[in-house]
Each structure stands twice: as C-alpha cells, then as structure tokens.
C-alpha cells in the first residue's frame, strides 16, 4: 500500500508555490528580472554611449543605425533608454531601500519600547506625514538641490512614516508573545531581542508593502526628474528624458512616447510582482 504524503515545504517554498500559480505575477517577475539585467549590462547592450552626440544627425527617424531615432543632440534614443533603466531603477529601488530601512529601524524602536519613546517617535512621524507625499518630495528635493541622490533622499523621507507605522503595528502584537518573554527571561539585550526575535516575526507585511511600493517610488522618481528636481541632463533617466523631449513634442512625439512606455512597463511589472507576492503571502486569499 502506498500512502501519498504531501511534501513538506519551507515557508519560502510555500510562498513560491502560491506565487507561481498566478500567471500575471510570474510575468511581472520575468519583466522585472529583464529590466534589472538590462540596467546592469547597459554598457554592453546599448549600441552607443548615452551622451554620444551626433549633431548632424539630430531628430533622425528610426533606422537600422538608430533603432528608435535620435534626439535634439543626435543622441541615440534606444541607447539612452537602456542607460536610463539604470538611473530609474537606482532611484526607485534606492529610495524604497532607504525608506524601508529607516522606517523599520524607527518603527521597531517605537514599537518595542512603547510608552513615551513610542509617543515621541510616532508624533514626529505624524509631522512628516501630514504634508501630502508628492509635495513633501518636491519641497525636500528642491531644498536639497536637484540631483539623483537628493531625489532618493526626498522620496525616502516621505515614505518612512508609513513604513515605520506598519512595522510598529506588527511589533506591538509580536512583543507580547511568549518567546519574547523567554528571551527577556534569559537576559538577552534589547538589540538582540529586536533583531533576532521580533523583527523576523513581524516583517512579512513590511516586505509585501515594500515590494508594492517600488513601482510607486519609480513613478515618484520619474516625476521629480520630470519637474527638474531629480536626474539632471545629460544623464539618461526616463523622467528626465520626458522633460527634455517635452519641448519638442509637437514634431517629435517619439521622444516622449518611448520613455513613458518604459516607465509604464517597469512599474507595471513591479506592481504585478508585488500584487502576486501579497496574494501568495496573505492566507485569507488562498482558495
């Protein structure tokens, strides 16, 4: 007699099993992977450097030499789009990473210590979240001065409060569990308890919301570049290319069309991936 035993899966295996059932999510993951590869290997893929000018050949239409034509300075649009993926991804991923790390640190401290510390920290977070997010980004980026780094800082600051609030709420529930009490009983230090016991048990929702934030952060980064507060020319960045192309939009629609499509596809892929991850991790939605 043969007994069929369902193979035991690790937490990661279980999530992956749920995740790959969702075709949209897998497609998103594949596109995300491709965009990241393009960004890493930009120098090898792009036929021309991003700042190579060819003034005799400006506004050329699509041809075998220039797949998507050239811009005002005769720079190859296709190459600039490839190089642009680098800066756009750096902006999107950078501010999510920075904002989440700051948010997790602040939120964990607030949630673990509670009481007065919690109150003070969360009120400071309230101060940062009572200005509409995009306005906050614009104000900080304008004050710090326009550059990729400052745009990342600006977006990270504006996403920190919600990340802090999310992890704090989860930590408040984990804090009361027995294993934390046990760790305290054997005289483990606060930092040890937070890092080894509490965060690993409270981080899942934060991972999901962080993933889902990447798309929005890429959009915010592109928006800042578009209004001149992010990447600066001649740097290739999709938002920046849009704002350059905007002035010649009447005659040369393609200068605006392609960077926008790149942003949309990348953000869409990250959103599909994030949605898939959320559905895979959320037991309520499992059928």
């Amino acid at each position: 007699m043969e007994i069929k035993v369902r193979k035991k899966r690790t937490a990661f295996g279980e999530t992956w099993h749920q995740f790959k059932k969702n075709r949209f999510a897998v497609a998103g993951l594949i596109v995300v992977g491709l965009v990241i590869l393009v960004a890493i290997f930009a120098p090898f893929i792009a036929p021309y450097p991003y700042d190579k000018q060819d003034l005799l050949n400006s506004y050329a239409g699509p041809s075998a030499e220039h797949l998507l034509g050239t811009d005002k300075f005769g720079r190859d649009t296709f190459s600039r789009l490839i190089w642009g993926s680098r800066n756009s991804l750096i902006m999107g991923l950078g501010c999510v990473a920075l904002g989440s790390i700051a948010g997790i640190t602040i939120g964990s401290i607030a949630g673990y210590f509670g009481g007065k510390t919690d109150n003070i920290i969360m009120r400071i977070m309230d101060v940062f979240s009572c200005v509409p997010m995009l306005l906050m980004c614009v104000v900080i980026a304008a004050i710090l001065g326009p550059s990729v780094r400052n745009a990342i800082i600006a977006i990270a600051i504006s996403t920190t409060p919600s990340a802090a609030r999310l992890i704090r709420a989860n930590i408040l529930t984990v804090r009361e569990k027995e294993f934390v009490e046990a760790a305290k009983a054997i005289d483990a230090g606060s930092a040890h308890i937070i890092l080894k016991h509490i965060i690993p048990n409270a981080i899942a929702p934060t991972i999901v919301s962080t993933t889902m934030n990447i798309g929005n952060s890429i959009l915010s980064g592109a928006t800042l570049s578009f209004i001149g507060l992010g990447a600066q020319p001649p740097l290739a960045e999709w938002g920046c290319m849009l704002s350059e192309g905007r002035n010649f939009m009447r005659e040369h629609m393609e200068l605006v069309l392609f960077p926008g499509i790149c942003i949309m596809i990348t953000v869409l892929a990250f959103n599909l991936f994030g949605d898939g991850l959320r559905d895979a991790l959320d037991p309520r939605l499992k059928n």
């Binding site: 509409p132 849009l242 605006v256």
Partner: protein, 328 residues
Amino acid sequence: MIRYVLKRLLWMIPILIGVTLIVTILLDLTPGDPARQLLGNFATEEQIEALRVELGLNKPLIVRYLKFMAGVLKGNLGISYFTHESVTFEISRRFPYTLLLVVISMLIAIITGIPTGVYAATHQYTWKDNMSIVLSLFCVSMPSFWFALILVQIFSTKLGWLPSLGIDSWKSWVMPAISGAIGYSATLARQTRSSMLEQIRQDYVVTARAKGQTERKVIYKHALKNALIPIIVIVGSVFGASLGGAVISETIYAIPGLGNYTLSALTSRDYPVVQGSVLFFATLYSLIILLIDIVFAYVDPRIKSQYSRAKKKKERGAEPLPAGRSAQ
C-alpha cells in the same frame, strides 16, 4: 465622539508647529541666498547686505521663526520676497484653482472607479474582470504627467479641440482633470473590486439571495454598502494625495494654482511663500484625514460603537485607532 474630535484637533497644533519648524530649518540649511537671487549678478555686496537686513535674513533662525509664528497666529503668513504681495492673499487667490482641479478629478475618479470595481467583482474570473484588472493596472502604473503630455499631443496639437495651457473656459479643465483622475480612478477600481469580492462571499449575501432578493439589490444595497467602508478611507487618502499631485498637473498645464505657486517659490527661494503654502497644505491634509476618520465612524456602526465603548473604558486607556492613517 466630540471629545475625540477635539482631542485630534488639539493634536494638530503641535504637529503643524513641527511642520513649520522643519520647513524653516531646511530652508535655512539650503545654499543660495534669496537676497542675492533677487538682486541678480550685478549687485554689490552692500546692496545685498542692505536687502538682507530689510528682509530680516540677517537675524538668527529662531528670531525669524518666532516672527513667522507670531504672524501665523494673526492669520498673516508674511510677504512674498518677489511680488511683495501678502502670502495669505496670494494663497486665497490661487487655492480655488487647486481645489476645483482636485474636486473635479476626484469626482471623475469616483464616478468611473467604483462602478468599474463593482463590475469586475461581479464578473470575477471572466474576460470582463481580467480586462478591467489589466486596464486599471496599466492606469496605476502610468506616470500621470506622461499621460498628460499624450493628451496634450492628441487633443490640442493634433485635433485642436482643447487648449493646452492656462485656464480660459471650461474646456481648459478637461485635460487636467482627466489626467489627474486616471490613476486614482484605477486605484479606486482595484480597491472596490477586492472589497466587493470579500463582501460577496459573506453569509448575509447568500441569505439575501435565498430570500429571493433581486441580484441588483443584493449587489448594490447589501454588498456595496458594506464594501464602501474601506473605499471611503481610500477616497480620503487619495484626495490628500491628489492635493500633492496638483503640483505636477498645474505645472504641466500652467494653471495658476497653489501647487504651481509653491514650486516656483521653491526654485526662486521665496521663503515666506514656501512656509505659508506648506503650512496651508499640511493643515488642509490633516483636516481631510480627520474628516475621513469621522465619516468612517458614521458609516460603520461597529466603529461608532467602539467610540462609545472607548468613552466608557477611557480609564483603561482603550482608544480607537485613527482609521485614515492606516490607509496611507
């Protein structure tokens, strides 16, 4: 409930003071001198110094800050370095444009987003549902400023139906409102769909169907009514977000609104204008969040009872969570 609202209103004061303080400190740290910028490249050091004294820029940060706050208490936000107009006056003149833009976009987003979500949920797993999911995902993932540029290209450059810049007539509002609404409409559609799906599976829906209620009434009177509760939170936070988004659409369409004003003040280092308009936006945003929490309590009897219970148990410190915050 009134106690709770009053408490929240009181809490707004230190938070808004915090906002002004942060903005003032940040502005102080920035390189670039407004006096130098005002006078241009050919000004002598003496002229610049004289203007700095006139504008009060030579005084220490704390003195300038207290002076600004004293003005705020009197409802006076200072005077613009560039136009020499009162900031309060400028805000009152420009804000109607921003408000109108935000309100029209929100109305479009609500009118299109919620029905789409309901439709997708009631047709789950059909091609209609898939279509609306994919479409709304595209709209969420699209940079709204890019969509705005494409609209300009089609409707004003190619077809010549609508003006691309400024505000002349009702026609000028069409494109800004649509490009402002599209992302939020998709957000609302997604939220509506998922919260409708949650409600449709509930027992009371089965009961309603079992007693022979028409499908239309089951969906719109029973399920949607309950599904609306989380949607209201999203509407509120989206409303707040679109205030910030107005900065972008006002810049693209050259609408003389508050967002455009703030952005140009930032680039020209017009400190009083930046301080004043950020404070104005922050106050408005906080009030909106508070309003959502109140509306939220009124539409959901469960939460309302939580407030009254919280009142009884206030010695034990049971306080309802501000709901709007969680949705940001």
